[in-house]
Symmetry: C2
Amino acid sequence: MSERNRRVLLVGRPAGIPLATDFAIDNAPLAPLVSGQFRVRNHYLSVDPAQRGWAADVSNYSQPVPLGSVMRALAVGRIVASRHPDFPVGTGVYGWFGWQQFATAGPADVLTRVADTGLPLSAHAGVLGINGLTAWLAFHDLGRPRGGETVLVSTAAGAVGSIVGQLAKAAGCVVVGLTGSDEKAALCLRDFGCDRAFNYRSRPLDRLLAEALPEGADIFFDNVGGEILDRALRSLRPGGRLIQCGTASIASWDPAPTGPRNEREVLTRRLTWSGFVIFDHAARFAEAAAGLVALIRAGALTYREDIRVGLDEAPGALGDVYAGRNTGKTLIDLTGEG
Amino acid sequence: MSERNRRVLLVGRPAGIPLATDFAIDNAPLAPLVSGQFRVRNHYLSVDPAQRGWAADVSNYSQPVPLGSVMRALAVGRIVASRHPDFPVGTGVYGWFGWQQFATAGPADVLTRVADTGLPLSAHAGVLGINGLTAWLAFHDLGRPRGGETVLVSTAAGAVGSIVGQLAKAAGCVVVGLTGSDEKAALCLRDFGCDRAFNYRSRPLDRLLAEALPEGADIFFDNVGGEILDRALRSLRPGGRLIQCGTASIASWDPAPTGPRNEREVLTRRLTWSGFVIFDHAARFAEAAAGLVALIRAGALTYREDIRVGLDEAPGALGDVYAGRNTGKTLIDLTGEG
């Protein structure tokens, strides 16, 4: 085992989307483990839109990452040294291991242990990680889908959206996807469960949504917020459910952006507009993962990974995700390092 | 029985709050009943903020009232002539009987029959009418209150809010009321279940809400929308429930007003923001009314009526409600007419 640890540090406080220049890479010595700790060699680092919020100088549901420290991130890896009896060497784990080669961790940092699913380790940071778990729990619990209903999904080719589309299809819904390019729209139709899919850059949004949803939608699984949200909300049928899972289209919340008032729409359409943060639901991860694995084995759920090789790829990866230069789950592969 | 019928007609299409000048009173002959119909002599006409939406030239959850026809309204009265076997003369009924002395009605116009509660007939158009039913069903179903939680109510001295405060108190919650005058705030404390009550005109809203909710709220039962909504939403604790029951603070929706974007708050606070329209829930009116009657009999629910005498009072009453010149339920008493 290397005695040194290459790490991605947060060195700038981004006003909006974190860019490569907000990070620096160093190479620090590894401290010895103390009792109760174990060391994780990270195989795949996760790149998640939520990292924007963690890097910003505003607490939302979690505290900001301190400047100069390792960028907070999820990762999947294997335990290579341990001073904790419940976490022996060789255990596969997914959790808060940061953008670095090696994490010095404890039980509280672990979200899930890698179960023997037959799927590659990378899947545990994507389709079986927070992306798939979010899709499963938010769509089922907050969407309450019924067969025959119409489901609209934004970022329908993204790490969460691509799974939501397929879950909606499996639930017997009509699935309409919004995504950022014609190529991704084609992929949504081919692989991600969509009956109709649209490049939201292809025409004015009002025309696009009128065409996408001639009879409205019952569920909107939204990862973007902004104008797409405002217009889609006005396409929801009475009793519609709006799941707010991200706000990727809003470049900055400071100063606070404005938009059309939505309270009358919530009222007259009798909407239920709910926010979802996956970390509230740890007690149900195993149940959700089992559901996802069953669908994958049945051939009803495919997933796509956008794997970039090497720690040096991490700093720029978040900007790429926000610019839509990914399809499916973005991961940083460290298996060739260290 | 009079052969003529004094009626309040909608003659103007209000852009915002309907004013007395948007209405005219006529005196029309009554047509004979046909089979399946019955005639209701209205005792109390209901004055409801929702009438603004019905009078506007925009359909929301119901079609606009045609110009020149009787203003759509709820009322409570007794059947004075009948050609329907299930609705004999003498039956007390509450329903869509309009702002007029006599309604020619059928079964579809009836919301509830007046049960033998020992309460005066007027109560069936207020605390046991849509106001109380709304408070009961929206607060319990969408608020899902737990003992010890903090509940914020806007228009806390109004027809719905005054009941919500008392239901919240009965559910073991800490109740904080917002209302439009110091006198009403005192009434909220004395009669309407509030532990704290504030005149929202007394100081800047940010200071007021910081003082009203030093530790945030779990439930916001909102009847006003606008800036109060935006600020109260930002005072909700994680997992908070926001019940949108009215938007009384917004004078006009054309052009669409703007406000701060709320989707990030919905997400990071994991809110559930739901719209409620009472007419979706007719199947549960009897259950809710029974719950309200039980509380009234137990001395845990008081209600207040703002009764104005004579049909001529109806045209101006809606403007008064929107201006906050009422406390409790506004009714027009027709018992002295006809």
